[in-house]
Symmetry: C2
Subunit: 430 residues, 2 copies
């Protein structure tokens, strides 16, 4: 099977009209995607996307097109036979790498393409991506990973060893996953732009639906934060789990003060307390708030595996929030998950947006079956919007994700939605 | 004066045809620029560019256009009256920031625009940028800087204090600069793609021209590196200064081994030994090679002030290599220079490329007059190509930069060159 064409679509959803997705920093997101379709000479297409929040999606689309010459004309079998080699040819393209390297627009673009290839590969193998990953022999799986800049913390041999340890017991965990699903938490009740009454009724609805873990946005005025966090803790009761998320709003010292002030509401974690680039800042915050029983979570804006390496080395995080398209797709997330497993830090993926829930469920499920071997202290984020646009949307029941069973990466957006939301000429925008 | 239009041009120079600019990672650069012209309702234009190396320049151009709505229609006086506010509105635009934040394509684009505003401001004040900066009262200068995410290391008050200390003696240093120029080193003799004979004759020519500081590219095969470094040390003699540059080629442990093997040739610094994102890796390398008398230099690919903050906090660098357009233009470089001054780490800017020499001379000269107050252990990189395309090219004599005297940021490319090198339709590419 040969990739014959790479099509890019700028898709935008007008979410800012309802304040869904609002936080202390992103005040008016229009959830969007730079969407890739790999056309082949067979009956299969590979679909992938990278998530954006409105303006600038066209810039990512232009970056995807800049990679076209390295993708079109390639045989799927050649790519998967040396997937880390293919990945490095894109990530280290001798001229394009100047625009990163391996960060920002150029890396978001790479992620959309790489994820589309995983979708194609999984469809060719007639498996969902989680199952494809879990079934790969350890040395084949590890051969998908570019270990460049990681070998001071992890070598391919160590990675194989970590995976080998779980091989014998994989089948049991796969059965458990199919039976019980994977634990989730909801962010849908606590967006920044929602009124107190709105948050209150969403909490009650979520409790009725079986949710036991809730995340609230903070990073506003201290008294507003306090009122909202108190409100949610009061609604969900003392046995439910509460997380708070500042979306990079604070200085290092300010984060320590503000989290300390909210400690009485017993947040399980503080997410993105400060700049996502500040490894040492996160380490300082974690050191200060751990004695209060609060962990530090970050990663949705960590640019690449090298930033994650340092977050782990510096004991800066208690929860590792991989994002399916911020780093370079499945391959680089495997690198991050392998390092997190070595350090014993749980993977709790970032989701929401457009298709992030659909994507990351595969990664957490692979992690459970074949790498960490546990769901303990591990949860997948869930946000309840835009799923209706997907052909194979996530299934979440009583606060748990059910494993997707269709072949591929669950990321295909319905053709009718692709036409209606195309920017700027789709009917939603015209 | 009001900005009426923002024009973007994709300019590329076919430098890969001569192997100029080649290193261990960038094997075929076509030095390029996403070029910005701010048109005003007065007689003045502001020019700025961000440096790229060929493919992908169109992506940066698209990102510059995405900022247009925040620039066109603004009054220069309103921008400069609250320059950090203007800067933050661009760097933290609520939807565009998702593409970074503050890194990669979107930040390179911001730099081109911000630098064009400095060019315009300096022209309006009829001063070169170095003089505009050096003459600004400390509190006005500091008001140009966004201290977000820096306050654990530096506050505006501390920054003002650092500048105040140098105020009284500025005039003396300005005279010294005008008389003696600013020390430079040359990279032009040691590109990776050059033959040994080529390197040898370039070294001899440079010595004859008065150069005493030379940089050589490493990161190839160990025996090739050794032969080339030995050759240059032999040519330039024991009293000249030699630097080596691996352009991010190595793993952390590998860098320590390889630099140790080259220690006998007494390099003053090892530049970019590993990933530019690896603060802790650079700290480990610096700790290992400092006892050999070798410093660590990096920064041309450090994404923003937060990465520089950590490089300084972690004692990871001995030389701080700011780049005029990798971070968000003059304003963010002021933040980096202020922090470096606090830590006593010398500023040795990255230059070469297209227009980087023209740009960075202004920053080093300001640093000398008004901030660090010294040229000790400080040098500006010099690369001898593409200057003929500039209206006000750098003047380098006997290994020293002469201060530019024309108003602006010295970055205006001749109109004939802009027409000939426009990609893909200029005559050089057609």
């Amino acid at each position: 099977m040969t990739i014959r064409d790479l099509e890019v679509i700028d898709l935008r959803f007008p979410t800012s009209r309802t304040h869904a997705g609002t936080d202390a920093v992103h005040t008016d997101p229009d959830y969007s995607a730079a969407y890739v379709i790999l056309c082949t000479d067979a009956a299969l297409e590979g679909h992938g996307l990278t998530f954006t929040i409105g303006r600038g999606t066209e810039v990512v689309a232009a970056a995807i097109e800049a990679f076209q010459h390295l993708v079109v004309g390639q045989r799927l079998a050649d790519i998967t036979a040396d997937f880390s080699g293919f990945w490095r040819r894109l990530a280290s393209e001798s001229q394009l790498r100047w625009l990163g390297p391996e960060k920002g627009v150029i890396h978001l673009a790479l992620a959309a393409i790489v994820n589309a290839i995983w979708d194609l590969w999984a469809k060719a193998e007639r498996k969902p991506v989680w199952k494809l990953l879990a079934d790969l022999p350890p040395c084949e799986l590890v051969s998908c990973v570019d270990f460049r800049y990681l070998t001071d913390v992890m070598t391919p041999e160590e990675a194989i060893d970590l995976l080998e340890r779980q091989q014998r017991t994989k089948a049991e965990r796969e059965s458990e996953l199919l039976r019980a699903g994977y634990p989730a938490y909801t962010t849908s009740a606590g967006w920044m732009g929602y009124s107190d009454d709105g948050v209150r009724s969403l909490c009650r609805q979520a409790l009725a639906d079986g949710w036991t873990r809730f995340k609230v946005k903070v990073g506003g005025r201290p008294d507003d934060d306090r009122r909202r966090v108190a409100l949610v803790r009061n609604e969900i009761g003392s046995t439910s789990t509460l997380m708070i998320d500042a979306n990079q709003r604070w200085e290092v010292g300010e984060a320590i003060e503000r989290v300390t002030e909210l400690a009485e509401f017993r947040p399980w974690w503080i997410e993105e307390p400060t700049s996502p680039d500040d490894v040492l800042g996160h380490a300082a915050i974690a050191k200060a708030v751990r004695p209060l029983g609060i962990g530090v979570a970050t990663g949705e804006h960590a640019a690449n595996r090298i930033v994650f390496k340092q977050l782990l080395q510096a004991s800066a995080i208690d929860f590792c929030q991989i994002d399916s398209c911020r780093v370079g797709g499945v391959n680089e997330n495997l690198a991050v998950m392998l390092m997190a497993a070595k350090f014993g830090v749980p993977i709790c993926p970032h989701a929401g947006g457009v298709g992030l829930c659909e994507y990351v469920q595969h990664l957490s499920m692979f992690d459970f079956i074949a790498l960490s071997g546990t769901m303990d202290r591990r949860v997948i984020e869930y946000v309840d919007h835009l799923h209706e646009h997907f052909e194979d949307p996530v299934v979440v029941r009583r606060g748990r994700y059910s494993p997707p069973m269709k072949p591929g990466y669950s990321i295909t957006i319905r053709e009718s939605s692709r036409i209606a939301h195309r920017y700027p000429d789709g009917k939603v925008w015209a």
